[in-house]
């Protein structure tokens, strides 16, 4: 059991983020605890040699979806920026200024657009890019064929852009 505890410790951060992405309105800590308990029971079914992280995250994702259904939508409890930076959108720690793609003030716009997407789109963009999982890991985590990840990502990116465009049009001078 000590070995399993070390596994939990190793993956708990990404598990908490996965749970929060999929069900921002639910208690991620509770979901992750339950998911790790279920994963322990399912360990005998884990295929030797398969990557552990996406297998665990799939269980976390399923548990979080169940909780999302029961939690329902609670306004204002979606993805949020950190509070430490006032508006929560200070420059993130990057390797250098050239690596920053977006200006600080536009992160709010991006975050709002992402939070406003339907669950399926937020899940795929969040898993693929916020968690920075590979296509294969994203497929395993979300229980999708790899080809579906590719096509669904592409469509979600399109909808994200459309959401931001409508925000741009509403905000004078907001286009960058």
């Amino acid at each position: 059991m000590a070995a399993y505890e070390s596994i939990v410790r190793r993956y708990q951060d990404v598990a908490l983020r996965t749970a929060h992405l999929i069900a921002p309105e639910a208690d991620a800590d509770d979901a992750v605890q339950d998911a790790f308990l279920k994963a322990f029971a399912a360990l005998p079914r884990f295929r030797d040699g398969a990557p552990l992280r996406p297998w665990l995250l799939r269980i976390v994702a399923n548990e979080s979806r169940n909780r999302r259904r029961s939690a329902g939508r609670r306004h204002g409890l979606g993805l949020r920026a950190t509070a430490a930076s006032g508006d929560g959108l200070a420059e993130p720690a990057m390797s250098g200024p050239e690596s920053s793609v977006i200006a600080a003030e536009t992160r709010a716009e991006l975050l709002a657009a992402l939070s406003g997407l339907r669950d399926e789109d937020r899940e795929i963009l969040g898993t693929r890019f916020l968690l920075d999982l590979s296509e294969a890991e994203t497929a395993e985590t979300l229980g999708l064929p790899r080809g579906t990840v590719k096509s669904r990502t592409s469509r979600a990116i399109g909808r994200l852009r459309a959401a931001m465009r409508s925000t741009d049009e509403d905000q004078e001078g907001g286009v960058r």
């Binding site: 939990v8 908490l16 983020r17 800590d29 992160r107 975050l111 920075d132 852009r161 907001g174 286009v175």
Partner: protein, 276 residues
């Protein structure tokens, strides 16, 4: 912003990750991995009980899991009563840990080979005056003349100021499961709460209520034990070191004591009661 091409929008999303307020667990309770471990022990115990008809033919591991129920009940009671936030002590009897824990890095670095108990991960060795100063409480030594002063003194401040006095085997102290150790008298900050112990039913391990100098105590024999306690600051300490023998546990004020030995209940209680 909406004019970014796909690649740059994907990069922007990756960058956004560091600006999101991600959940980081409940800071007021033990860390997530520890809570998962505790819940696993609870779950295994209840599962084992449900199938306890096969107890007599069960494997040692299975029996150990049933024993864990006592701990689970204890833990649940404590969690309910103390909200995982008050000083207290939790004992989990269950699977023995594999090899002895190597303890904290400081302990490992300073344990002296050849010193009784040096392989048990008990902490740093030091003179008694220094130990008393470090843990900030009076060190109570057994008055039994046959024991003499302890052969080694260990302190692990990270484990609720744990103090371990170790005696090598001698005529009055038979060898324990560690041939270098005849007796360990441990103490640490924290209290045992009455009413949280369940009697363990089993043929290899028993938990028995005793009285030590007017204080409630417990005599634990048999299987090696997995031991959790909660330090006064609310931290759950996982003492996964394999115990070397039968154990007597009691608390006196804000301090809890544990004696490990192979001398039997009466002699252990006599030693405990001789500590002024």
């Amino acid at each position: 912003m909406s004019g970014l091409d796909d690649a740059r929008l994907e990069s922007a999303l990756r960058e956004l990750a560091s600006a999101i307020d991600w959940p980081d667990g409940d800071p007021s309770s033990p860390d997530l991995a520890t809570r998962v471990r505790i819940r696993l022990i609870e779950r295994r115990a209840s599962t084992s009980l449900r199938s306890s008809l096969g107890w007599r033919h069960a494997s040692p591991l299975r029996r150990a899991l049933v024993l864990a129920l006592a701990a689970a009940l204890l833990l649940a009671a404590l969690a309910g009563a103390a909200g995982l936030g008050l000083p207290g002590l939790r004992i989990i009897l269950g699977e023995p840990s594999a090899p002895p824990r190597t303890a904290s890095p400081t302990a490992t670095a300073t344990a002296d080979a050849g010193v009784p108990g040096a392989d048990l991960g008990l902490g740093q060795t030091m003179p008694i005056e220094e130990a008393a100063s470090l843990i900030g409480r009076r060190i109570r030594l057994p008055a039994d003349q046959r024991l003499g002063p302890p052969d080694a003194i260990f302190v692990d401040p990270a484990r609720a100021n744990q103090l371990a006095l170790v005696w090598a085997p001698r005529s009055a102290l038979p060898e324990t499961s560690d041939p270098s150790v005849g007796l360990i008298v441990m103490s640490f900050d924290g209290t045992v709460r009455d009413g949280f112990f369940q009697k363990v039913v089993g043929d290899t391990s028993r938990l028995e209520r005793v009285e030590v100098g007017g204080h409630p105590g417990w005599w634990i024999t048999g299987e090696p034990h997995l031991f959790f306690y909660e330090s006064p600051d609310g931290t759950l300490v996982d003492d996964d070191r394999r115990w070397v023998g039968d154990a007597l546990i009691w608390s006196d004020g804000p301090t809890t004591y544990r004696i490990e030995s192979a001398i039997g209940r009466a002699a252990a209680i006599a030693i405990a009661q001789s500590m002024p």
